[in-house]
């Protein structure tokens, strides 16, 4: 690094680092947004596995006692007794209980709050189980056939929050790379800073490397922060494979620079490139299995997710943090795929950087 090129390169890296601190959009998407996601979703979903409070009423008589016994024996619910239907309905409306069961001597009324759709399907499932068991118990029977559930893989992944953190890490890496080009480089081009830099002996590739180095460093730092926060605040327990993690982080960041290149080349106005990158990030967030699982998407959106880079990077990141099992071949294929995107894009990017700005 003592050659003139080396010194110039270091100088560029320092300048890029300073520029990044001032680049609010990139800062926001790479550090702030993922952090906010972790906090928000962590607090909203991090509690996974807690028992559902269930209200019931009409428990007089032997059937009533049976209902009470069945409810208490059912896993995953915390039964609360209510004196009458009215107070039960009020509690449901005020969301003090997840749902309610009313026994009027002849039939069971299952009461749900209409607007709780996310949870209602799970509640209905629990209710069905209670009804079945109640049916059997009322007739003095007990089940002859049952299910033995055997989980495969890391049991820590059972918490949906734990599944989500690697996805958010992947998102942070993606945006670091994406906005490095569609945002930072494009704005440098618009402000003619790029032209000035190019009059120096530094080849365009040197500039790109400097940008990549800085953005990668920031992405790694952000990932570290996210990992630590998740562990400290929300009991996220990864089994980190450092080698795989770093390899994926590097490949993903430069690969996403490739995606950013595509946007920069397609969108004429440099200022619009950042907006397009903005939208692409948000779309990918929803459709890549980071926020909701891909299997739950409707078929045509599922197909879309198969074409999004973030889908694969998120999977790879889940594997690197020990949340998901994956064959070594598949993992390294993902890494190579990202590197391939970068290699294909860099010559195009270098040409973009040098191309004179059209007025």
């Amino acid at each position: 690094m003592s050659t003139p090129f080396g010194r110039a390169f270091l100088g560029l890296v320092r300048a890029e680092a300073r520029a990044f601190r001032r680049d609010r959009v990139s800062l926001f998407f790479t550090v702030v947004l993922p952090f906010l996601f972790i906090v928000v979703f962590g607090l909203v979903m991090g509690g996974g596995g807690e028992a559902v409070p269930v209200g019931y009423a009409g428990g007089s008589g032997s059937d009533g006692a049976t209902l009470e016994r069945v409810l208490r024996e059912t896993e995953g619910i915390v039964p609360t007794r209510f004196p009458d239907a009215a107070s039960l309905e009020a509690a449901i409306g005020e969301k003090k209980v997840g749902f309610g069961i009313l026994w009027d001597g002849g039939r069971l009324r299952l009461l749900y709050e209409a607007s709780r759709f996310q949870e209602n399907s799970a509640f209905e499932e629990l209710a069905r189980g209670v009804v079945t068991r109640f049916d059997l118990a009322r007739q003095g029977a007990s089940p002859a056939v049952a299910l033995d559930e055997i989980p495969l893989g890391n049991p820590a992944a059972a918490r949906s929050f734990n599944e989500m953190v690697p996805g958010i890490l992947a998102f942070s890496l993606l945006t670091a790379g994406l906005f490095a080009v569609s945002g930072h480089l494009t704005s440098m081009k618009a402000r003619r800073t790029l032209d000035r830099l190019l009059t120096t002996p530094m080849p365009p590739l040197g500039l790109l490397l400097a940008v990549a180095v800085v953005r990668l460093a920031v992405a790694l730092l952000a990932s570290l922060v996210i990992l630590i926060l998740s562990q400290v605040l929300f009991r996220f327990e990864p089994t980190l494979d450092l080698g795989k993690f770093l390899a994926l982080a590097l490949a993903a960041t430069v690969g996403m620079m490739g995606l950013g290149t595509g946007i920069a080349l397609l969108v004429r106005r440099p200022q619009s490139a950042a907006n397009v990158a903005n939208i692409v990030s948000i779309l990918m967030m929803f459709l890549s299995g980071v926020t909701i699982p891909v299997e739950l998407l409707p078929p045509f959106l599922r197909a879309v997710s198969r074409g999004l880079p973030l889908t694969y990077v998120a999977q790879g990141m889940r594997h690197a943090t020990g949340m998901e099992e994956m064959s070594a071949g598949r993992f390294w294929a993902i890494v190579l795929g990202c590197l391939g995107m970068a290699l294909a894009a860099f010559p195009l990017l270098a040409r973009y950087v040098v191309r004179p700005e059209r007025r």
């Binding site: 609010r24 607090l43 759709f117 996310q118 049916d135 007739q139």
Partner: protein
């Protein structure tokens, strides 16, 4: 009157001519609406979810009459499409003809472990015999179990498991009934009622989402539009040109508020049209209660915008602050989804967030949900916010760049 209205018209022209404003305030809520409904609206509906399930029946001794074969039959039925052209619920993977069961099972287990398949169902050897034993002995004996391998942490595995639980429960009932232990005709009648919606039926996501998105659009206009317009105009000394004429700050504010109201009306109209004609929403805003909440929301976010503008010096800082506030406030408010029970610190944020009260109140008056909080509270909190915002903005907001 004339200067304020004239200014309102000019400001409206400016807002509609800036492409970026037009996109984020008008088009983006619509896009988000369509996207969220496409994703979440069809959640769990038949024909949209689909699972790969492996099946091994080791209960060969019982043959065609065995319970293992029965379970297989049910799963086969579920792998046929429920409706013409729709995907079936399951795709069943079974060992080919003479394939070694252990080899097949190992491969299937790996498929589940790596997430390619949702479940592996294994009916153990001697299953039917075991069940017969259980039926002939006294009640209370442990049930015989079917093994189900699932992937830890995978929601799709979890969903598929729910389906399988129902299958097994059905088989169990049938078996008990045939042994005389259970009389299906005496099974209880279970009735489902959804509280809070007028017809007692489940609320559709698109109807739930629409008021949330209208509020989100108003919020965006207030949070980004107001500080943006004021701060940049002040910075570039556009405002200064006004202050050397008889045009006063109160007139400016009046005109500005009119423009904001018109933008909100535009957003509302567009979302209603898209919701009603493109996405099949049925919810109606044609009531005095709904009008009250919409106007209240528009005012709250206008005031909030002034508040945010008064906190910073430059336009760039204003936009950064708006971005930082936007996500927590909209996500912790029940705009897009229901916030169930939240832990301590977040509950405080939820309790302070004007968006949650407005969303709650609006959904209440248009008949989408029951009473989570008293209605007067849903009106009071936003009014308090308006007061607070205007108080702070009144003291801090300067209308000209200082030296």
């Amino acid at each position: 009157m004339r200067p304020a209205l004239s200014f309102a018209l000019a400001q409206l022209r400016v807002t509609l001519r800036e492409r970026e404003t037009l996109f984020w305030f008008v088009l983006f809520p619509v896009l988000l609406f369509v996207l969220l409904v496409a994703i979440f609206g069809s959640l769990g509906q038949e024909g949209t979810i689909h699972f790969e399930v492996g099946f091994v029946n080791r209960d060969q001794a019982a043959g065609e009459a065995g319970l293992g074969r029965r379970i297989e039959g049910i799963l086969e039925a579920l792998s046929r499409p429920a409706q013409e052209g729709k995907e079936p619920l399951l795709h069943l993977h079974r060992p080919a003809g003479t394939e070694n069961l252990d080899v097949f099972r190992a491969r299937e287990e790996e498929a589940v472990r790596y997430g390619r398949h949702a479940l592996l169902v294994v009916v153990p050897e001697g299953f039917s015999a075991g069940v017969l034993d259980a039926l002939s002995s006294r009640p209370g004996v442990d049930p015989v179990k079917v093994q189900v391998f699932r992937r830890a942490g995978s929601s799709s595995s979890g969903f598929a498991l729910l389906i399988l639980k129902q299958v097994i429960a059905g088989v169990d009932q049938a078996v008990l009934a045939s042994a005389g232990r259970f009389r299906p005709e005496e099974a209880v009648l279970a009735e489902t009622t959804f509280l809070g919606s007028p017809a007692g039926t489940e609320v559709r996501y698109v109807d739930f989402l629409l008021p949330g998105l209208v509020l989100m659009a108003f919020f965006t206009a207030g949070l980004f539009g107001v500080p943006g317009a004021i701060l940049f105009a002040r910075e570039q000394r556009i405002l200064r040109r006004y202050w050397v004429t008889p045009f006063s700050v109160p007139q400016f504010l009046a005109g500005f508020s009119v423009t904001h109201a018109i933008v909100c009306a535009l957003q509302f109209t567009l979302l209603i049209l898209v919701g009603r004609f493109a996405l099949g929403a049925e919810v109606s805003f044609a009531s005095p209660g709904a009008a009250l909440f919409l106007v209240l929301a528009s005012l709250t976010f206008l005031a909030f915008g002034f508040f945010v503008a008064s906190l910073v010096q430059t336009g760039a800082a204003g936009m950064a602050l708006a971005n930082a506030i936007n996500l927590p406030m909209t996500f912790l408010s029940g705009l897009y989804y229901q916030v169930g029970t939240l832990p301590g610190p977040l509950r405080v944020l939820l309790a302070v967030n004007p968006l949650s009260y407005l969303a709650d109140g609006l959904r209440r008056v248009i008949g989408l949900q029951g009473a989570a909080a008293p209605l007067w509270l849903s009106v009071l909190v936003p009014i308090l916010w308006i007061g607070f915002s205007l108080f702070v903005a009144g003291r801090r907001l300067s209308w000209d760049v200082g030296r």
